[in-house]
Amino acid sequence: MHARTGTSETASEIAASWPEEIFRTLQRFDVRQVPYVPDAGHSELIERVLGASSMRAVPLTTEEEGVALLAGAWAGGQRGVLLMQSSGVGNCVNMLSLAQIFRFPFLTLVTMRGEWGEFNPWQVPMGSSTAGVFELCGIKVLRASHAEEVREVVEAAAGQAYNACTPTAVLLSQRLIGAKVFTK
């Protein structure tokens, strides 16, 4: 794990981890509602969101709730982002219709399992079809595999989602998460 944001802005910028980069990007885009189903790869970002007065973290019982929540948030004038793991993408399929039906700025950040040295075979089927499922549902897919590219990929995704109402998913590779979060 990386250090939390320090009291010195300069020091924290130098030491910013990729979850911190994501958090800052979401703040810059005025993201207000952050529904999530917890994942180890998202744990640092979720903690930052829970501690942010400008953001509402909304724990879900299943990922599809988050798609519907974001549609409601948009109707009410707020932007949001859905945080989930790749296994949750399959739970969203019918609800992802809302991205096309409402043409609203859907953005989701997905931590990947089932790839890059995966230990658990149960993660592999859904992890292998995650990008395909999104594409079939009309969601654009971007991927970040290295810490240094996370910021620009998430910025691009947020830009096209919020500025162009182009529904977008960012896949955060297990290669990225494995290098940064797993300690065993």
């Binding site: 909304v58 519907a68 948030a73 948009w74 109707a75 009410g76």
Partner: protein, 196 residues
């Protein structure tokens, strides 16, 4: 199929919305959307023609975004059963401006009247209470509906949940707009938000 002494769904919804003021009203997939349309089209009606199980979460998203406006979700038992976890999510967030009303006819009326779980075992207001929505009740009479309706405008004491046993007769459909982008942009426009 009609049963004696059960409320007429259109009467329930028109009573709830008679003095709706600035409330945003979300109608779940199926007859609830027709009921809301029958009570009168409105810039702040959120009609669902799909997304089964999503009505409460859409209502929650609006309620969190607009905490000073009453948000009312009116849906059916089948739609509510599909999104039952969303009651747990609402119970955790406790939006004070959100009201959820389930019109419970104990059947899937749109698909041929097959029995739903509420016909036999499931007590939805008990579920809501167990999920942390303390103000949760079952209503069976029009006078209870009339007494309940003004409270929906109290944005300081929600969330509240009510299930209403209604007659299962299939009524003539009153068709709202099916254009989701129009519907959402109309609500946004009424709140002062502009197109991108």
């Amino acid at each position: 199929m009609s049963k004696a002494n059960l409320l007429d769904r259109r009467r329930v919804v028109s009573t709830l919305l008679e003095d709706r003021r600035g409330a945003i009203v979300v109608g779940g997939l199926g007859a609830s959307t027709y009921d809301i349309a029958a009570a009168g089209d409105h810039d702040r009606n959120f009609y669902l023609w799909g997304a089964m199980g999503g009505a409460v979460m859409i209502g929650l998203g609006i309620a969190l975004a607009q905490p000073t406006l009453p948000v009312v979700v009116i849906t059916g038992d089948g739609e509510m059963l599909m999104g039952m976890g969303s009651l747990a999510t609402v119970g955790l967030q406790k939006p004070k401006n959100l009201t959820i009303v389930v019109l419970d006819n104990e059947v899937y009326g749109e698909t041929g009247g097959q029995a739903s779980h509420t016909a036999a075992t499931v007590d939805l207001d008990g579920v809501a209470r167990a999920c942390g929505i303390a103000d949760s009740r079952a209503m069976a009479t029009l006078s209870e509906i009339e007494a309940f309706a003004p409270g929906m405008h109290d944005v300081a004491s929600g969330p509240r949940f009510a299930s209403v046993k209604i007659d299962s007769a299939n009524l003539e459909r009153v068709l709202s707009s099916r254009d989701g982008t129009f519907t959402v942009n109309r609500i946004r426009g009424s709140l002062g938000f502009h197109p991108i």
